[in-house]
Symmetry: C2
Subunit: 875 residues, 2 copies
């Protein structure tokens, strides 16, 4: 680091790490807001560009528009500095009152302005200013109960209201009464950036607290208190402070701070010299956080800034011009607001129609999806429209989904979107910027015989990371399935090269069709859906003739021993075949999960049982004269994912690998699911203390945002393909091999996971994740009568629901009703038969995990009780 920046780095160390790690980490209560009316956020490309004038103008045009229904305009200012001298909510309130006094509306309007909380110094200033308060009528100027509300912020009971009589309203109100509600959420006294003011006035507010307050403000007006406003037209406007990327009170940039809501935006641009650039850049910062910008509006300075802006926006974003704002405010801007009225009306119309368009689209999406999609692994007949989840966005681990009752609500993505997800909110933002950068820098570029930085950097990270100690080569492809096909091709060639006799045979018979190469695999394993990957899986309904008539199942499939916690105790469960062969001396129960991974078990009698069982199965293929041979071993180390979240006894896998390696059978680890801290360790291979010859990675590798897969290989494997002819090379490739965006995403994600500055879960000494799923809670769950077994490992928490003997199908019905309840609790889950699971990212806080697990515990407990009842009745 440079000299000068080092100086600041010191100050950053003081408050920095907190600065960028606390964002959203403690946000538990979940974002939600109604979609019954528009809610917009007003942003600006710089300070002092007239956001508040736009808010005020909008309130006037909205509330004065002729319509028979009553109207409600809510203005929220979450963060106000320079308070109470400056108060944008007071400005909007007063300008509106002035305007209406000057130009009365036909109907009455009830206007109010209030302040919720302020720093102590700001609150004292309020006292000095003798601000109006609630319940004392208009004009009464006493402040009460400036009680402390923690973190140096105090409640401020500062309130003013006015009823503006309509020109056509009789003494007994006939026409509907409209409302203007202005609110400041938090005020600080110094007229500086909120993060500075909050620090200096020792009145901090965490992002999660601020968002909770904002949620309350958005929700309170919509239900409950103002239920009489049900038939009214409502619009909410939230005005930010400063520019789009100005820090909020915690130091988080506001565009990041408000991101969980992802409300549509109005951008107040800059009409001055240099303003084109500032407006475009601010727009791009908003886009880079996933915001939709409904309109850009700015003050005309006669520089025709609108021309290049319209060119830039093409037809996507309307650009509106406000008349020049007079420097002289003597007439209280009334004539300016009058002059601007058509522009504001136009802006309001854009906001209303854009909102309408969006909500209409959200409503029709389920039907359209049912009509046009062909979902994978889905029987469409079983998915009626109302079961379709409309995902409007994702922020970190959470989906924002549209509920048909017209709410946007948050759901924790507990299936980690098919086990791919890694990002927290900060990583998602960084990935988004990196994706923009990489697309702009490279798009995609041809890979063979070429090199580009993201591919090289990723290869280096992989060989030094998940491939450390054995891998030296990186082969890129697009997904786990293609990575497996490549791995099998590598392994078979390697195997043939080790078996000269076979190789001679192949050379003699160029088609080699007499040689029947098989893979050794475990029953219950899953390696992908393309034919070559399917062939390495044991027959199942997923591989049947109806699914793929070409499938033959070209493997020897072994039944492995599994491990889980049963009723609070870790136990090995032996397959039938071993049951009959065991001596009874074998240790099958363990005090802790760690004990299971200990290498000391290698000398146990269980190890002998495993070894003899494995050899028994291998022998026919090792010494036969026939040409049916085992050309590769393929396993998912530690946990079989699609096979029902089954943990295989690591001892068994270690012995299996050893036996194959000693017989020159190349070993493939399918770490597509298990890689990159999915199970708490960078690779699952580390956990079983084995090294493969070939390993496949995908899913979490790119942070879960974009497809990319790699097949790592040892130098020995690579060298088998070396020769004079291209025909000896591995002739397998896909168009987007090593595409720069995928590589760049992977580089960022892998670095993020393994840096304890960014991944708070990382125990830097052990290179392991801390325990994410509360062990005590897991134990409690394992003891529930409805639960057969539990397994918590790294980011995975799996719970198998008990199937009751003859009562077939009961468990799955039970599971689906359980998941329905958990869905209502905000957990998006998908079962694997009678196994339910929660999966978080490597950076998800243990607090969040505990919070989720408590919900699961409560629901299973509740259901267990329901379940017991009918059993008793039936007896």
């Amino acid at each position: 680091m440079s000299l000068v920046s080092a100086v600041f780095a010191a100050s950053l160390r003081r408050r920095g790490p907190l600065f960028y790690s606390m964002r959203h980490r403690s946000l538990h209560s979940g974002i939600e807001y109604p979609l019954t009316h528009p809610i917009y956020t007003i942003w600006a490309s710089n300070t002092s560009l007239g956001k508040t004038l736009v808010s005020a103008g909008l309130s006037m045009s909205f509330l004065s528009s002729s319509s028979i229904s009553r109207k409600r305009f809510v203005y929220l200012k979450p963060v106000q500095t320079g308070f109470p001298e400056d108060s944008d909510s007071r400005f909007v309130y007063r300008k509106f009152c002035d305007y209406v006094s000057h130009k009365p509306l036909p109907f009455s309007v009830f206007a109010s302005n209030s302040v919720l909380k302020a720093s102590a110094s700001a609150a004292n200033a309020v006292l000095r200013m003798r601000c109006p308060v609630r319940n004392e009528g208009f004009g009464n100027e006493i402040v009460r109960e400036a009680g402390n509300s923690g973190n140096g912020l105090v409640n401020v009971n500062c309130y003013e209201e006015r009823k503006l009589q309509g020109s056509e309203s009789s003494e007994i109100e006939l026409s509907p009464q409209s409302e203007l509600v202005c609110k400041t959420m938090y005020g600080w006294q110094e007229a500086v950036s909120p993060h500075l003011a909050a620090e200096r006035e020792e009145a901090l507010v965490e992002d999660s607290v601020l968002l909770d307050m904002l949620k309350k403000c958005l929700v309170s007006g919509s239900v409950g208190t103002s239920s009489d406003m049900k038939d009214s037209e409502v619009i909410y406007v939230i005005e930010t402070a400063g520019g789009v990327a100005s820090p909020g009170p915690s130091g988080s940039l506001q565009c990041d701070l408000y991101r969980p809501f992802r409300l549509p935006a109005i951008l107040v641009g800059d009409g001055r010299l240099g303003g084109i650039s500032g407006t475009i850049s601010a727009y791009e910062s908003l886009k880079l956080r996933g915001y939709d910008v409904a309109a850009v509006i700015f003050e005309d300075h006669g520089l025709m800034n609108e021309v290049p802006l319209l060119s830039y926006f093409r037809k996507r974003v309307p650009v509106l011009l406000l008349p020049s704002i007079p420097k002289d405010f003597s007439d209280d801007l009334i004539s300016w607001f009058e002059k601007s009225h058509t522009v504001f009306t136009h802006l309001k119309e854009i906001m209303l129609s854009s909102f309408l368009e969006k909500t209409q689209r959200l409503h029709e999406m389920p039907k359209k999806a049912c009509d046009i999609f062909w979902w994978p692994f889905t029987q469409h007949n079983l998915v009626p429209e109302e079961k379709v989840t409309v995902i409007d966005s994702r922020c970190a681990e959470n989906f924002s989904v549209h509920k048909s009752c017209d709410w946007i609500a948050q759901q924790f993505d507990a299936c980690a979107s098919w086990w791919t997800q890694g990002p927290d909110a900060n990583l998602q933002t960084e990935l988004a910027r990196d994706m923009g950068y990489t697309a702009a820098r490279y798009g995609h570029v041809m890979f063979p015989e070429n090199v580009h930085e993201p591919s090289l950097e990723l290869a280096e990270l992989l060989v030094e990371g998940v491939g450390k100690g054995w891998a030296s080569r990186v082969y890129f492809s697009d997904n786990g399935s293609t990575a497996i096909e490549i791995a099998i091709k590598m392994a078979f060639r390697m195997f043939l090269s080790h078996n000269d006799m076979l190789f001679d045979h192949v050379n003699a018979d160029a088609n080699g069709s007499h040689l029947d190469l098989k893979v050794l695999a475990l029953r219950g394993s899953y390696h992908g859906d393309t034919l070559g990957a399917m062939e390495a899986q044991a027959p199942s309904p997923f591989t049947g003739f109806l699914q793929q008539p070409w499938y033959r199942g070209r493997g020897i499939f072994l039944d492995p021993p599994t491990v889980s916690m049963y009723d609070g105790i870790w136990k090995v469960s032996l397959p039938e075949e071993m049951q009959s062969q065991k001596s009874g001396q074998e240790q099958l129960s363990f005090k802790s999960r760690n004990e299971i991974f200990e290498s000391g078990r290698d000398d146990s009698s269980l190890a002998s049982l495993y070894a003899s069982s494995i050899l028994h199965n291998l022998v026919p293929f090792l010494y036969a004269k026939g040409l049916s041979r085992i050309g590769a071993l393929i396993v998912e180390p530690v946990v079989q994912g699609a096979g029902g979240m089954q943990m295989i006894d690591p001892l068994y896998q270690r012995i299996l690998v050893r036996e194959c390696k000693s017989r020159s059978i190349p070993v493939i680890f399918d770490e597509v699911f298990t890689g990159f801290w999915r199970l708490g360790s960078e690779s699952a291979a580390e956990m079983i203390q084995c090294q493969p010859d070939i390993a496949c990675f995908a899913k979490l590798m790119t942070g879960g945002i974009i497809p990319l897969a790699v097949t790592l290989a040892s130098e020995a494997v690579f060298q088998v393909f070396s020769g004079d002819s291209k025909l000896k090379a591995l002739l397998h490739g896909h168009s987007y091999t090593a595409h720069p965006m995928g590589c760049a995403a992977a580089v960022k994600a892998i670095k993020w996971y393994k840096d304890s500055n960014t991944n708070m879960n990382l125990i830097s000494e052990s290179r392991l994740l801390q325990e994410l799923w509360d062990p005590e809670l897991m134990l409690q769950i394992s003891l529930l009568p409805a639960v057969r077994r539990v397994l918590a490992l790294g980011t995975l928490c799996a719970i198998e629901i008990l199937e009751e003997g003859s009562n077939a199908g009961y468990a799955s019905m039970y599971v689906s009703s359980l998941l329905k309840k958990l869905h209502e609790d905000g957990l998006y889950m998908r079962p694997l038969g009678n196994v339910i699971y929660l999966m978080c990212g490597p950076c998800t806080s243990p607090d969040t995990c505990r919070h989720l697990l408590e919900k699961v515990h409560a629901r299973i407990h509740e259901f267990g009780q329901l379940k017991n009842k009918p059993v008793i009745c039936a007896a």
Copy 2:
């Protein structure tokens, strides 16, 4: 569009389309610049933040640093408005002279300032100002030869120079003499945004012209004239005008304008209130164009803006603070420059070390790549380090590659990076922003039973576009190969449902293993490298036992008739089998390419020949009692790509499809290569006037930036999978199914290709691309003795080099030496055996294509002559 924006849209229509389409379109000469010394661009987040002070400060710290070698600091100001009153190059020149006069350096410095071109009015003002000119000595103030240089810009021979004697230099110069060279490229008189000044002064300069001039300025100082500076330390600084996204003279935003060079950036930020936001947004706009930012520097206003900035940048970008700039310039800022000296020295060091790091990395990349990559389709033994291409970036159709002689040079990506590429420069920028937005909004989200906007919008576009008239369902996957595996699964199930007897058989034998389902395919076709896709291809070295021991070739492979231009005439070439059966009445030559596609040919005698040949091959599988049946037809419509860019007679494919459809054999079109205007039409299916039951798309679909594939299906195919059980559904999926970024890229790209406002090549009435490859030039090439045949269709131009009978291998050697020459000409090409091809994007201008084709023509012509010689010698 809204009312207000409609007003501006009118003015946009006047100059708008030009505005955003001419960017880089006419840039032919290619970007290149030396990497022997650093070249930086100075950007700012707004106007008036002190870019020129930074440039001046850098010149002082660079030229005054103690070192034995001579130094050269070149300052370039490409665009200057307010000229000649304002001249940043004069400011840098004069401040430097003042500074050195005040604080002499130990050695002499030769300083100069010049202006190249200006608008007529600015040039007249120069005359009035009596500016110093070249060759008249210092201080002589006459302007000469203000000759017109087109577009209202005139040459300005405005020049001043000074020799600043060193404090330690004797009368006979012993110590090295350093240089400060300041240059303004273009000046306009009005002090407004360059695009406005250029318009008002009627002195436009196109982007390509400006970039050419900049290239000259960057190159001229490095070679030739100043060859005596070879051992000196050199640094170039280019100062932009206004903010990062301020328009340049043509109206293009400067961050877009300079993008082809992608020079490293120094960002001058904003230390004022609101400056955090402006600085971050400007940084993000630069990143969104693929720029690397080496440092951020800004004036300290006491607001501690550096703290949130350092937090935002983490450790990636150093942040430097400049002392407050005095409002009073009375001492000519000399004391300010003195105070800032350490900061500028630090900035200079960052610039030098960052440059060194980058060039070192570029140098080691080839070796590292050879050591760690395992390239697909590549025999590593045949790729020595020096053959590795280091791709530093891509801009539209061009790579920027690092040449070992330390140049960055441009190469046209004539293989369209494995046939994926679609974007022009504008589309690439838009895709980059969309990628950032989509990653921020969604990352990736689970797809089955869910819907998100990009997936739905894409599905709608596909069904209304390439699937129009037949497709109703969209199945997502990751690449062409997986899309084909899915298609085959669909087709087989469809086939079984149509053949009750077989279906009963399958039901009786759950494994169905007695039924041998085959695909009907054309020899020479290619469908991907996963096993299922490979099985649909005819045996070849690519499918041999060594490559995939599991391959059997489960198809019936027909030899198709092909079409190309031979010696200026379009001819059908019949396969051997048909040769013997033809009547002699068949029309095999055509006047034009269009004639070949005419449906009138359906009644020709050639059509009968085709039909009988096809039936002859089908019969054994249609009526046999055996269980070997054809379950699907799969073809690449119109052109087989990997098979050597062979155009199949459309008549033959039409008849083949008809025969299969009439026998309920489902038809799959593999449009992975041919789709999305690759061949000049949105889908190749349109060109043969057939509709498949299933079709696969990928490659161009996402604009060539990110992997995504789809399998489209008719409703009839979809319904076959409908039932009560999930087991009847299509159980095939990949983790990133319908990932939002891929879908969003596809939505943007497809819309871009098919909108004649963005794709200038689109003939809107016919929905076809205009002819991109000059027909006359193609004809000339076909007549060259070394050429066997040519084929130009849409974005594809293929040329087969003649193989001479026994002289096997000659053609491929010939091809590789030809490509080596074309590589030197700036064309990045990869051959397919003895076929070379050029592939552009759907939006590439015919000018660019002609320019490329001329080079190819010249080289083949040249080689043909070389080739003829040895033949004569041998005779």
